[in-house]
Symmetry: C2
Subunit: 210 residues, 2 copies
């Protein structure tokens, strides 16, 4: 949601209850889609099934998501969007590479799983790896998060230039994907370590930047 829309919304001042319901419904739908796909395979999941699991009409499902794939990928996008915020929370003097590593690893802390069951990431990764039909929506969600992270980087390093921030942002998510994929295929060591190592490779070039 753009800053303008957010401002309009704050003017409209929708009460908390209404908005909370929306958020909850969206989350429930995405979660139901994910869980059903994980259990029965994406191809076997029908939209009415998802809607029924949450207790809404199929039409409502399509008010929130334009496809099953998008619903599932939205969960990952929600997680990934936290990286930008985490970077904004890092102390000012911290070197960029350390701040980015810490920010990227935030989402692997158990405490970060708001609403998501423990071990969710593993299941999600497995599902995406198993279902090629999810790749498009997943990558789109990641690209959105990437843009957001680029903005956060640009705020932090104003004289770096737009090119710099976008390259670094895409590198962070690229490294993360590489780390997760590596761990997913080899399963040696912990997931966090694989991602940390991948980030170290990618961020080697920006050691001096603050």
């Amino acid at each position: 949601m753009c800053a303008y829309c957010r401002a309009v919304e704050s003017l409209t001042a929708a009460g908390p209850r209404r908005e909370w319901n929306k958020r909850q419904t969206r989350f429930d739908l995405a979660m139901a889609a994910f869980e059903l796909a994980r259990r029965h395979g994406l191809g076997a999941v029908r939209v009415p099934q998802i809607a029924e699991a949450v207790g809404v009409s199929t039409r409502t499902f399509n008010n929130y998501f334009s496809s099953r794939e998008q619903a599932i990928a939205w969960l990952a996008g929600r997680r990934a969007a936290a990286v930008g915020d985490a970077l904004r929370d890092r102390p000012d003097g911290e070197p960029l590479d350390r701040a980015l590593t810490a920010a990227a690893l935030t989402q692997y802390r158990p405490a970060a799983q708001d609403g998501l069951p423990a071990g969710w990431l593993r299941d999600f990764r497995d599902l995406v790896a198993r279902e090629p039909a999810l790749h498009g929506a997943y990558l789109t969600a990641m690209a959105d998060a990437e843009r957001d992270l680029a903005t956060a980087i640009a705020e932090r390093v104003p004289d770096g230039g737009q090119l710099f921030s976008q390259v670094v942002a895409s590198m962070v998510f690229g490294a993360e994907r590489a780390g997760v994929r590596y761990w997913s295929e080899h399963r040696d060591g912990t997931l966090v370590d694989a991602v940390r190592q991948a980030l170290a490779v990618g961020l080697a070039g920006i050691g001096g930047v603050r």
Copy 2:
């Protein structure tokens, strides 16, 4: 297509005419989809329209592509796949960062446009930027090319490790996307220079590697 499948295909030894026809049909369908989408907007393009433009049935279109979006993105994937091959063609002693830069920039050379009209990349980029519905398929195609490039890097730098090659590969395409996007938004200087600059930022960390 994997090396194994390629080998099998060479054993099956389908005559050249048949295979050439398939390639041509696939290309024509993708090109027609792209051209129609560029002219009338993706939302206005219907599958029968694309099929008719090429002179095949709609069913045949779906034998080649599962959606309009995939057909269009296939063109970009075809181009991107050339990066891996270009890297394999670079001289052995060349440092990795130089080799990768040269390989990535190969596809911007006018000579590289096999079958694609001049200025195609600009039009394609504009279309993708204008049509969010294309992002998923486009990113999926890029991810495929990324895997291929990672393989090429691993062949070139065997002791780098799988993590290294994947991170670097995703960085190359990430930098390229950042460069293209930057140029697409600012239009100052040439596209090639923007991509070269983006690659320089991303590849700064692997200066010494051969």
